[in-house]
C-alpha cells in the first residue's frame, strides 16, 4: 500500500521560498503566476496493515513527524 503525504505551510504563514520562486517566474515573463507556495511530498510505502489502520496511522505520523504543526499543515491520499 502506498500513500502520498503533502506538507505545506499554513495559510498566512510567510513562505519565503514560494515568494522568491514566484518573483523569479515573473522576471522570466510568466506574469500569469499569481502565487507560489512551496511544500514537501512524502511517498510512503506501508506493509502488514489494513486500510483502516492506515487511516489512523498516516495522520498520526504526519502530525508528529512529517509536518511541523506550528507552521505546517498536511494532506494525504492513497496512491494505489
Amino acid at each position: 500500500m502506498k500513500v502520498r503525504v503533502l506538507v505545506r505551510l499554513k495559510n498566512g504563514v510567510l513562505d519565503p521560498q514560494g515568494q522568491t520562486v514566484r518573483h523569479a517566474l515573473h522576471v522570466l515573463g510568466y506574469h500569469q503566476i499569481k502565487d507560489v507556495r512551496q511544500g514537501k511530498v512524502f511517498e510512503i510505502e506501508l506493509e502488514g496493515i489494513d486500510q483502516e489502520t492506515a487511516l489512523r496511522l498516516i495522520p498520526e505520523i504526519a502530525d508528529k513527524v512529517l509536518a511541523n504543526p506550528i507552521i505546517e499543515t498536511f494532506s494525504w491520499d492513497f496512491l494505489d
Partner: protein
C-alpha cells in the same frame, strides 16, 4: 589581468573575493551586476559564494536565469576563464557549464571548517602553480556540497582529467574520513573538458592571509594571473 566578481542578490563572498584580488594581489577587479549584460572586458569571471536568491528552490537554481549568465555562458564557450566558488560552483552546475549536481551534506548539517584538498590535476589554468598531489588547507562553508554525478558522467570526468580537487587527510590520503560532506569519490572541484571553467566548494579567498590561518588559496589566484601572463 582583469577580474570580474559577479554579484547576485544574496551573494555574500563577493566582497571577500574582490578584497583578495584587489588589495592583496593588486589586480584590476570589477563587480559585475547580475542584471547587466556587460562583462566589462574582464579576463576572468568569478562567481562567488553566498546564498543567491536565498538558495530557495535549489542552490543556484534561480541565479542561473540572470541576464549576466547568458554573457558568462558565451564567454566560457569561447574559452574565457570562469571560476565558481561554493554557491558559484552550484550555479555553474545548474547552468550546465559543469556536469553533475549537489546534494545536502551527508550529515545534513551546514559545515564551516578548514579542510584539506589534494590537487589531482595541475595542468589547468587554475592550478598550474600547484605541485601534482599538493595538499591545500582551505575552508569550506556549505550545506549543499555533496557532489554527485551519475556513472557515465563520472567516467567522463575521470577519463578527461576533469577532477581537479579531492577532499583528503592532512597528509594527502583520500579516504572516507576525509570526505566531510559525502561527495562521490571525495570530489571537491571539477572543470569542464577544456579546463577553462572550474567549480570548487572550498573558498580560496578565505585562505589568502597568514593572519587568518592559511595562504594556500592564493595558489589558485596566482595560477590564473600567471596563466594570463604566459599566453600574452
Amino acid at each position: 589581468m582583469k577580474f570580474g566578481v559577479v554579484v547576485f542578490p544574496g551573494s555574500n563572498c563577493d566582497y571577500d573575493t574582490y578584497y583578495v584580488l584587489k588589495e592583496i594581489l593588486n589586480q584590476p577587479t570589477f563587480f559585475l551586476w547580475h542584471k547587466d549584460h556587460d562583462l566589462k572586458g574582464v579576463d576572468c569571471v568569478i562567481l562567488p559564494g553566498g546564498f543567491s536568491y536565498g538558495d530557495y528552490l535549489r542552490s543556484g537554481a534561480i541565479a542561473r536565469f540572470s541576464p549576466l549568465m547568458e554573457e558568462i555562458i558565451e564567454f566560457a564557450q569561447k574559452g574565457g576563464l570562469v571560476l565558481g566558488i561554493c554557491n558559484g560552483f552550484q550555479i555553474l552546475l545548474e547552468a550546465g557549464l559543469l556536469e553533475g549536481a549537489m546534494l545536502r551534506n551527508k550529515k545534513l548539517k551546514f559545515l564551516c571548517q578548514t579542510i584539506s584538498i589534494r590537487v589531482e590535476n595541475n595542468k589547468i589554468p587554475f592550478t598550474r602553480e600547484a605541485r601534482p598531489g599538493q595538499v591545500l588547507r582551505i575552508p569550506i562553508a556549505h550545506f549543499d556540497g555533496n557532489y554527485y554525478a551519475p556513472p557515465e558522467i563520472l567516467d567522463k570526468l575521470k577519463k578527461n582529467d576533469q577532477i581537479i580537487f579531492r577532499y583528503c587527510t592532512e597528509t594527502g590520503e583520500i579516504n572516507e574520513e576525509a570526505n566531510v560532506n559525502g561527495s562521490i569519490e571525495n570530489i571537491a572541484g571539477i572543470s569542464n573538458t577544456s579546463g577553462n571553467v572550474l567549480g570548487m566548494m572550498p573558498h580560496p579567498e578565505r585562505a589568502a592571509e597568514a593572519l587568518l590561518g592559511s595562504c594556500d588559496g592564493l595558489i589558485i589566484f596566482k595560477s590564473i594571473i600567471n596563466f594570463q601572463k604566459s599566453i600574452i
